[in-house]
């Protein structure tokens, strides 16, 4: 993939069929035999190429076609079955299947008759749909299958709401009343809906304030307390358990603790206040089967009357969901919400990795190509580095966990953070170790193209530079590196793409399914390289492979997949484009 072959081949392979004139005998018309063209074999080769191209486009099509429409609001269907059940939901999946005779026999008589009728009419197939019926807190299920022959009545009620909640998944129902700070508006009506939107914004603002206090302020206090405890432990380790230093640290910690407790109480009061404020802001909803439910407004992330939406409203919902996806944290064990921490983690990890790998990769390439004395050793090293690109990524992960996490990190812990032991600080997977591991992994991706680019700088240019009296470094810095820049860029971008898409080593050295804190925050020292982080690729693995409620998580996985593919493909396309330009430039130089 990173081969830089530049052979200007003006070659068009054309079938040279047609009668080749025989010189010797005029009477016998000698044609090139049709069989010699091996048309069937050519078709096999062409078919193979076509298949390869079809595979990649099908894959991209599948991901895009499943990833893009995820956030588009669907109409909510209310269904009444012949059995008298009523429920509402969005259609998640439609399929048809063959109903076996045993299953048919198990059905009640009337249903079986209907099923038989459909089977007869529909080529022995039964159509069924999977409805995302939500209301998990009431029904205990997120989805339900309904076969077409069971449906007695189907409608799309105007005011059927789709409510996304912080917990328990989606809720579908018709609003009957809005309670806001003691005011009650009955509905459903336009006026109530306008009221709801206002009330909802207020309730969410209140909730945001509460969450900010809970997360930031209380977290800060807890951290301060922990620091004080660590200071005591630190003094104990340094001076002994009975030392006056430890006693002093302990007194200080107690004083601080009292202070912090006071502050904590104040915050707790404020939280109670906000809770009380939001307690009276509720939406009363009636579900399709007539059950009444009360939804606290602060728990509602988004609600819309799905069947009333026009195209623009739908677009607005779509945009709002995309925004949430890109900028918000996940919730409901990652199957809802956004992937911001994963995007952040991926980008930050890749950046740190490239900051490490690009300079060192270029240094190594410069050394190999310009400074090391050519010989069998350098060739051997070159081959080894080339082959490092073929070493399985999991091996780098194993090295990373054994060397970086346990050996280096464990050493750092006993040296720098003995007071925190036995809970590890650097002695476990984290951002820094993941970046270092991936830097090692992508090293050959940088070294190989850089070296090739350095080698491709014409000898005449170096000699010209030396002839002008430039030193070696001046020649490299002013002449060679600028000309090799596109090659280095290609390497760097390919390394970025590889690093962003690699998951196997990260599973070992620090990616986690849910990281509580971002690796960068407002607390000193701002960048926390020891923290574990979320990663888009690992997110896909975790959601797609290990998720509890995998059906509900599926849309999320497809969108995340789309995002990751887009990221990686864009990086690769840029690299390929740069390389193509570079190739043209070199070809120009060679001519």
């Amino acid at each position: 993939m990173t081969e830089l072959e530049f052979d200007p081949k003006p070659r068009v392979a054309q079938p040279t069929a047609g009668p080749a004139r025989s010189v010797r005998r005029r009477d016998k018309r000698r044609a090139t035999s049709l069989f010699a063209h091996g048309e069937p074999m050519v078709w096999l080769t062409g078919g193979a190429l076509g298949l390869a191209l079809a595979m990649i486009s099908t894959l991209l099509f599948v991901v895009i076609s499943r990833g893009l429409p995820t956030f588009w609001p669907q109409p909510v269907v209310e269904i009444v079955t012949h059995g008298g059940e009523r429920f509402a939901g969005e259609v998640a999946l439609s399929e048809s299947f063959a109903l076996g005779p045993e299953a048919l026999a198990a059905l009640p008589e009337q249903a079986a008759a209907r099923a038989r009728a459909e089977l007869a009419a529909n080529d022995e197939q039964i159509a069924r749909r999977m409805l995302r019926s939500g209301n998990y807190d009431l029904t205990g299920t997120h989805f339900r299958w309904v076969s077409d022959f069971e449906v007695a009545e189907e409608s799309t009620p105007e005011w059927m709401l789709c409510v996304e909640r912080l917990e328990w998944g989606r809720f579908y129902g018709v609003p009957t009343a809005l309670e806001f700070d003691g005011r009650r508006t009955d509905g459903p009506s336009e006026q109530m809906w306008a009221e709801f939107e206002r009330a909802h914004a207020q309730a969410r603002a209140t909730w945001d304030e509460r969450r900010s206090i809970e997360e930031h302020d209380i977290g800060r206090l807890a951290k301060a307390k922990e620091e004080a405890r660590l200071a005591v432990r630190s003094a104990e380790l340094a001076h002994g358990a009975q030392s006056p230093e430890r006693a002093a640290a302990e007194r200080e910690a107690e004083a601080l603790s009292a202070e912090l407790d006071e502050e904590m109480r104040a915050l707790g009061e404020r939280i109670e206040e906000l809770k009380a404020l939001n307690a009276g802001r509720r939406l009363l909803v009636r579900t399709a089967d007539g059950a009444q439910a009360t939804l606290p407004l602060e728990q509602v992330v988004r609600a819309y009357p799905a069947n009333r939406l026009g195209a623009f409203d739908k677009l607005a919902v779509y945009a709002s969901r995309v925004e949430e996806f890109l900028l918000d944290s996940p919730r409901e064990s990652n199957s809802e919400g956004g992937v911001f921490p994963a995007i952040f983690g991926t980008v930050l990890m890749t950046l740190i990795m490239s900051v490490l790998v690009v300079p060192f990769g270029v240094l190594a390439a410069l050394y190999l190509r310009e400074y090391a004395r050519p010989g069998p050793l350098v060739s051997a090293v070159r081959i080894a580095i080339n082959n490092l690109a073929g070493v399985p990524s999991i091996v780098f992960g194993v090295f990373g966990v054994g060397f970086f996490c346990y050996t280096v990190g464990g050493g750092l812990d006993t040296w720098l953070f003995p007071e925190r032991l036995p809970s590890p600080t650097f002695g476990t997977g984290g951002l820094l170790w993941a970046s270092l591991t991936l830097a090692l992994l992508t090293l050959p991706v940088v070294i190989v193209p850089t070296e090739e680019a350095l080698a491709a700088v014409p000898r005449s240019m170096r000699e010209g530079s030396y002839a002008c009296g430039a030193t070696k470094w001046q020649t490299i810095w002013r002449i060679v590196l600028p000309r090799a820049m596109p090659g280095i860029m290609t390497g760097a971008i390919l390394a970025l793409a590889r690093g962003a898409g690699e998951v196997a080593p990260l599973m070992l050295v620090g990616a986690s399914k849910l990281a509580e804190e971002l690796p960068i925050d407002g607390a000193f020292p701002y960048l926390h390289p020891e923290r574990s982080f979320m990663h888009l690729g690992f997110h896909i693995y975790d959601l797609g492979f290990q998720s509890q409620n995998s059906e509900a998580a599926k849309p999320m996985v497809y969108t995340t997949t789309l995002l990751l593919i887009a990221l990686v493909v864009v990086l690769n396309v840029v690299a390929i484009w740069i390389r193509a330009r570079l190739r043209r430039r070199f070809q120009g130089a060679q001519l």
Partner: protein
């Protein structure tokens, strides 16, 4: 090149003295140092990977070390030692002698700390010991039995409140304290270890009027309760469970024995059994005689226990049985003999056991010895190691499962070893001989690992035969981790094989087409597209494999399988039809247009497959391919037919070309192009019919011979299987093989191509006879690189292969590869233990495999390049 000093000639001619600025010189030196240092360091780091992996792996194969003997002053036993054990920290040991006396020894000095007794009588009739719970059953001459529990109590007394003794204790110093031994630890705490002995109320074995004293006793204590077996002086054999009952009035607890007599062994009364053993959870009783005879009773139903099988534990008649012990878990019996051999026997469940409980005892392991009688056998309480002592004073430490000898030693005075004791942490080995106790420090690193245990079949406890097993963890407590790497290596090879089977032909053929039949501009576009395919993150591929492809393949298995036949047939047929098209049209469509025409055959093939597949499934496979694979219905013939069809087709093609080729060449010289094309179509159909006939014939023969493809290449269908993995792995390896082989084909010198075309060869002849042979080594190296990628691919196999470590070539079953195994298990492995190091070994193996393959490929490629430039 040294350019800092201007040459003298320049200086002479120059009008003024030219001197290099100092800053330039400094920059030069700094750059040289920085680049050499940085570059060298980077390269060194890379080689560090291999070194580090090896450094972690090497201790796995290290031998155990045994320190020289340290004689303990006291505690020499005057009577045979029945049992002994140390505490977890190897600071105290208790020794139970035949007389019922228990002496507690300090292991640092050897002084006797205290002497207790488990029996009120001077000489108990029989003693039985359960090593797992440290309970001794003491049988008295009046037929009653008491249970004595010997347990070490560990406490951390407060140093301040316990007086002078402890507060003045220096670190690492030990002193007797409160009936035990106190030691100041490195972190300042004081740890006190004390032996606690509690003796239960007596209970009667059975209700029989005749109260005969027991001769042999054994007991087995589990969480559920205790089982006791006893052989009485009068030859009666009884086994039963102990129940603890509480008196409602007084609250006093009493032990009640409920059980039944076993049929007495039919052996001459003169010869008495030497050992009685309860096996496993107490549901089997083993009675052993000195001459090697043994009887195993099935005692699952205590009231109706019967003799299950009689055994010959020794190989030859002139050998006597000397010692009987049990390994950890009491499922394996260790039998030592007078010739020094030790056999490990456990129950297996073979197909035709012929016993009442369907089980048979088998000798799973054999430690041959060198002719000197075994005088002591002692198992470890935590692992499957055991120590063997001999009559000439030598003793050895073995690991049962791996049959690895860990360490050996000799008593100082060369007198026979009569008791051995391994500390729970296996850091101390205590040996008793006529000269008293001697202590050895032991470091037994990774006894369960050895080259043979990792790579050869190993006979694990209760398995029928030696097997390759990888099972690193389980819920059970006395579970033995099984580190057979072969299933994982096999899984890796299987994944590689099936993905190469799919990917290599596709990639090579595609490369030939794009290098020989595409215009340069199109070629660049196609190549870039395929390179994007190479950059797809494998987690995405794995996710799609598991969640899209696997269900799809399962739902339409017949159509998918049919497409493997239909697509090539559609292409071959399409080519024949295309030959019928007017020549003008054919010549006009080149490069991407031709590719487009060819590609149209693909959907046609797929469409045919989706119709034909289910139809064949109905007709030949009884309506359900999965059921057929599962051997639920149908015969072998249709399977053979489909498997053999490709082979038959190739055979038929060659046969027809061989038999009629010359004739066709002769006759077709005068034919028009259209006539040739018609003939070719006809010939294709004839070949197809021939192939079908061949395949049908062979299938009929094979199935008549009783052979069935199910059970080897084909078998029960699992949703995540090698077929799906092979297909999706294609996405990962096709681009690599394609790009590299396209490079190789393109760099064949242009003059060769021109010369061949100029000599009148068609492009296809040129490609087949000139280009491909010239580029062969390049193509080979491309395949090797693809192989390297397939070997190490992790996420795809992790998410789509089901991860079951089984060994069969079935296309429709899952597997577990080395890489996926590492990804799953390394996060849970404890740093430094055998599991962790074995996973590192797997990584090292992967590293070595891919490194060798890639280096080979690189060398081949370099040779190819040199040759190509020479041409």
């Amino acid at each position: 090149m040294d350019t800092s000093q201007p040459s003298p000639s320049l200086r002479k001619r120059g009008r003024r003295e030219r001197k290099t600025r100092r800053s330039v010189l400094v920059a030069e030196r700094v750059a040289r140092t920085a680049i050499s240092l940085g570059g060298g360091l980077t390269i060194a780091t890379v080689s560090l990977i291999c070194v580090f992996l090896a450094w972690v792996v090497i201790p796995l194969f290290g031998a155990a070390t045994l320190s020289p003997a340290r004689s303990l002053a006291g505690g020499r036993a005057s009577e045979p030692i029945v049992a002994c054990a140390t505490d977890e920290y190897a600071s105290l040991m208790w020794v139970l002698e035949r007389s019922g006396r228990v002496s507690v020894l300090r292991l640092d000095t050897g002084a006797t700390l205290e002497t207790l007794s488990v029996s009120e009588q001077a000489q108990p009739a029989a003693l039985g010991f359960d090593a797992a719970s440290n309970v001794v059953a003491v049988g008295t001459s009046d037929g009653a039995v008491r249970l004595a529990t010997l347990s070490f109590a560990v406490s951390y007394p407060d140093t301040a409140g316990s007086g002078e003794v402890l507060s003045t204790l220096r670190p690492e110093e030990r002193t007797p304290f409160a009936g035990g031994l106190a030691e100041r630890l490195a972190d300042g705490q004081v740890r006190c270890v004390r032996l606690e002995l509690s003796i239960s109320e007596p209970f009667e074995l059975g209700t029989g009027a005749a109260k005969s004293p027991p001769r042999l006793l054994d007991l087995n204590v589990t969480e559920a309760g205790a089982t006791v077996a006893a052989l009485f002086e009068d030859g009666r054999l009884t086994v039963g469970a102990l129940k603890r009952t509480t008196n409602m009035m007084t609250g006093a607890e009493t032990l009640r024995f409920r059980g039944g007599d076993l049929p007495a062994p039919n052996a001459p009364q003169s010869e008495q059994p030497i050992a009685l053993r309860l096996l496993g959870a107490g549901d089997n009783v083993l009675l052993v005689w000195r001459d090697g005879r043994g009887v195993r009773y099935d005692a699952r139903e205590l009231r109706s226990a019967t003799a299950a099988e009689s055994l010959e534990l020794l190989q030859s008649a002139d050998v006597e049985l000397t010692r009987v012990g049990a390994a950890l878990g009491e499922r394996t019996v260790l039998v030592g003999d007078s010739k020094g051999g030790v056999g490990a026997w456990f129950r297996t469940r073979p197909e035709q056991a012929g016993t009442v409980d369907g089980a048979r005892m088998a000798r799973g392991h054999w430690f041959a010895g060198d002719g000197v009688a075994v005088t002591a056998v002692a198992p470890s309480a935590t692992s499957r190691s055991f120590a063997v002592g001999r009559a000439d004073g030598r003793f050895e430490l073995y690991f049962l499962t791996s049959e690895k000898q860990l360490a050996e030693g000799r008593t100082p005075d060369g007198s026979a070893v009569d008791a051995l004791c391994l500390s729970p942490r296996e850091d101390a080995l205590l040996v008793h001989s006529a000269g008293g106790w001697s202590a050895h420090q032991l470091a037994s690193h990774h006894p369960e690992a050895s080259v043979t245990a990792l790579l050869r079949p190993v006979w694990y406890e209760n398995y029928e035969q030696p097997e390759h097993v990888w099972q690193s963890s389980s819920g059970a407590d006395d579970f033995e981790a099984k580190f057979g790497l072969m299933p994982l290596v096999f899984g890796t090879l299987k994944a590689t094989f099936y993905s190469l089977l799919f990917g290599v032909p596709l990639a090579l053929l595609a490369a030939i087409f794009s290098s020989e039949y595409l215009a340069p501009r199109t070629r660049v576009a196609v190549k870039s597209t395929i390179e994007i395919m190479a950059s797809l993150p494998s987690v995405v591929l794995g996710f799609l494999a598991g969640n899209v492809v696997a269900p799809l393949v399962q739902n339409s298995l017949a159509a998918v399988l049919a497409s493997f036949y239909c697509v090539p047939i559609a292409l071959l047929l399409g080519a024949r039809l295309w030959q019928l098209a007017p020549q003008g049209l054919v010549l006009r469509l080149v490069s991407w247009q031709r590719l487009l025409v060819i590609t149209l055959a693909l959907p046609l093939g797929l469409l045919t497959a989706s119709v034909l597949g289910p139809w064949i499934e109905d007709v030949a496979f009884g309506g359900s391919l999965e059921g057929w694979l599962d051997m639920q219905h149908g015969g072998a013939a249709p399977g053979w037919f489909l498997l053999l069809l490709p082979v038959a087709a190739i055979g038929a093609t060659f046969a027809i070309a061989r038999l009629g080729g010359g004739w066709v060449r002769r006759v077709s010289q005068h034919w028009s192009r259209a006539r040739c094309a018609q003939f070719d179509l006809l010939r294709f159909c004839a070949t197809g019919v021939c192939a079908c006939l061949f395949a049908a014939l062979a299938a009929a023969l094979l199935s008549a011979a009783g052979l069935d493809p199910r059970g080897s290449l084909l078998d029960t269908y699992a949703q995540r299987n090698a077929l799906v993995v092979g297909f999706i792995m294609g996405f990962a390896i096709i681009p690599i093989i394609y790009t590299l082989s396209e490079d190789a084909l393109s760099s064949v010198p242009e003059q060769l191509r021109q010369a061949s075309l100029g000599a009148g060869a068609t492009p296809w002849q040129t490609a087949l006879r000139v280009i491909v042979p010239t580029a062969a080594s390049g193509l080979f190296s491309a395949v090797m690189v693809g192989l390297g990628r397939a070997v190490g691919e992790t996420m795809i196999v992790l998410m789509a292969a089901g991860n079951t470590p089984i060994m069969d070539w079935n296309v429709f079953s899952g597997f577990r590869t080395l890489s996926a195994n590492i990804a799953v298990e390394l996060p849970e492995a404890v740093e430094g233990d055998t599991h962790y190091r074995t996973l590192f070994l797997a990584a090292l193996a992967l590293f070595a495999m891919t490194f060798v393959v890639n280096t080979g490929a690189e060398l081949v490629r370099q040779r190819f390049r040199r040759r190509a430039y020479q041409l």
